[in-house]
């Protein structure tokens, strides 16, 4: 093949993917930035340049700050817990146990359910008076409580649902990694009289570091990307107590139809994701490799 035809063929093969990626990833990213400096077009009044007005409004918007704070709490509430549970599950079903196949299935099944179906099931679980949680706490003689309707418990309820859904998904990555650990290591440690906890801390956990990095990055992305359950269970309420950043973008954009302000909000989300990408590349990747 001639030199020129290599370039031409390469680009031709890439063309469909390139066109679609530019149209639905790169262009909208750039357009978000651009539109965030304009007002929302209305019938009879096209968009005008407003400089930093959208960002100023955002800075003064308590719902934005609350959504951001909720998102941080949501991430802190879901990520460490689901990773810890995932490791526990993987370690448990990596050994020979009675009914291991069923156990793996039970842990993994929530992953296969649509988040919206999961949210419906849990909504029933949390329902005041009628729901299972109320019945259980009633049996124990506890006072009735509106779990999703109260500011103090709503976010925690949503966090529990997310942990339930994600732990089994992360488990399989740990399970795959554990199966790469040579059994001779555990045998050697057992001969030396090391406790299982010691073995886990000194051998298994460091060996799982690349998996933990992979899972962590995915978990962080998911905590900013998944809001299906918010739409079904709480609609951000009560009083914005469960509004996450993407949910707020959805509300501003498609309930209030303020697309310009939604663009400014999206910029915050994009900056967070870009920061995550850069952080992963520059800092974490290096550390994990050298361990």
């Amino acid at each position: 093949m001639s030199r020129l035809s290599v370039h031409i063929h390469g680009w031709l093969l890439l063309l469909p993917a390139a066109v679609l990626l530019v149209a639905f990833t790169h262009y909208p990213t750039a357009a978000t930035f651009f539109h965030s400096f304009f007002s929302t077009p209305k019938p009879g009044r096209s968009a005008v340049y407003v400089g930093l007005d959208n960002y100023r409004a955002m800075f003064d918007d308590p719902v934005f700050w609350q959504s951001l704070a909720n998102n941080v709490w949501f991430a802190l509430g879901t990520i460490p817990a689901s990773i810890a549970l995932a490791i526990l599950m993987a370690v448990l079903v990596n050994r020979k146990l009675a009914g291991r196949g069923f156990l793996r299935l039970a842990y993994f099944t929530p992953t296969m359910l649509p988040m919206i179906a999961v949210a419906n099931i849990w909504l029933f679980f949390y329902t005041p008076q009628y729901g299972l949680l109320e019945q259980l706490s009633g049996l124990l003689g506890l006072p009735s409580h509106n779990w999703l309707g109260s500011r103090d418990t709503a976010l925690a309820c949503v966090i529990v649902v997310t942990i339930w859904k994600e732990a089994g998904f992360f488990m399989i990555f740990y399970l795959a990694a554990l199966q790469q650990v040579p059994p001779s290591l555990a045998e050697a440690a057992a001969i030396e009289g090391a406790s299982r906890w010691y073995f886990f801390r000194r051998v298994t956990w460091p060996l799982l570091a690349p998996t933990t990095l992979f899972v962590l990055v995915n978990a962080v992305i998911n905590s900013f990307r998944l809001v299906d359950h918010i739409i079904v269970m709480t609609r951000g309420g009560p009083d914005n107590a469960t509004s996450l950043l993407l949910f707020y973008i959805y509300e501003v954009g498609f309930k209030f139809w303020d697309l310009a302000y939604a663009a400014a909000l999206t910029m915050v989300l994009l900056v967070i994701l870009a920061g995550l990408a850069i952080g992963q590349f520059v800092f974490l990747e290096r550390r994990v490799h050298y361990q």
Partner: protein
């Protein structure tokens, strides 16, 4: 008395019990949903062995909303996205793996951008685009942002790179063109990766919700997830037995496929994530 063996056996038994307890806890929300869906409403929170089984909740749900149409839409959507992703991804991956074309490395990084900035977060601008294209409220509008998948391109490129160049060259000596080599040498050798990627893609798009609810607003284009939400948030709001039945119906095809091909599914998710 307590030899090390007995202590180890005891520890093992405790661990097994713990694992089972966790599994029962984990499966219980689903088991509970199944109970509610298959029993009359008055038994939805009363767990007695003599509760009569019924399919009435499913019949009621099926009649209360056009689930058949939603199912057709979802199947069409998932198929369309998968076929497009496989074709587009294969071509692009081949280019990245075997052609040293101008700007390859920079373009590859630009492709990987989509791993972080997924279509799920670009809802506002993609909505504007669909509106400008005049295809709002259609199945292609749901699928288009996902048809070029950085994840798929990356996965296939890694696989293609492991295929010996000699095979490629041998086929070319016999007079095969670039696309023929791709189709006859690369694609068959990458089959396990296609299966893995396919399962992950189908389950992702079967379950996707936020973008479809934004771009669709009629029965003709809504997938199952959106149909379920519309159904359960309207006047059905109180009847949990019917909502639970509808919820199970929505998830059933994928869940049944998963139970049948469990091993493949789990391995696919594993394979897709590890590389």
């Amino acid at each position: 008395m307590n030899g090390p063996h007995e202590r180890r056996d005891l520890a093992h038994a405790l661990e097994t019990a713990g694992a089972w307890l966790l599994a029962i806890l984990w499966i219980s929300p689903l088991a509970y949903a199944v109970w509610t869906a298959f029993h009359p409403a008055e038994f939805s929170v009363r767990f007695t062995l003599d509760a009569p089984l019924t399919l009435q909740n499913f019949a009621n749900a099926w009649q209360a909303a056009p689930f058949a149409r939603y199912l057709v839409n979802t199947v069409a959507l998932v198929t369309m996205i998968l076929v497009a992703q496989l074709v587009i991804g294969t071509l692009a991956a081949y280019a990245f793996a075997r052609y040293a074309f101008f700007g390859r490395d920079v373009v590859f990084i630009l492709v990987l951008v989509q791993l972080m900035i997924m279509p799920d977060v670009l809802i506002v601008e993609n909505y504007r685009t669909m509106s400008a294209l005049g295809i709002l409220d259609s199945i292609p509008a749901i699928g288009l942002p996902y048809m070029a998948s950085a994840f798929g391109i990356f996965l296939l490129r890694q696989t293609f790179k492991t295929i010996p160049r000699e095979l490629d060259e041998a086929a070319r000596v016999e007079g095969a063109g670039a696309l023929e080599v791709l189709w006859k040498v690369y694609v068959p050798l990458a089959r396990p990766v296609y299966v893995a990627y396919g399962l992950v893609s189908v389950s992702y798009h079967w379950n996707n919700f936020l973008w479809p609810i934004i771009v669709t607003n009629t029965v003709g284009s809504r997938p199952l997830t959106v149909g379920l939400q519309v159904f359960s948030s309207t006047d059905q709001g109180i009847d949990w037995s019917i909502i639970t039945a509808a919820t199970l119906m929505t998830s059933a095809p994928l869940l049944v496929a998963f139970l049948l091909f469990q091993r493949q599914f789990v391995q696919s998710f594993m394979r897709a994530g590890i590389r």
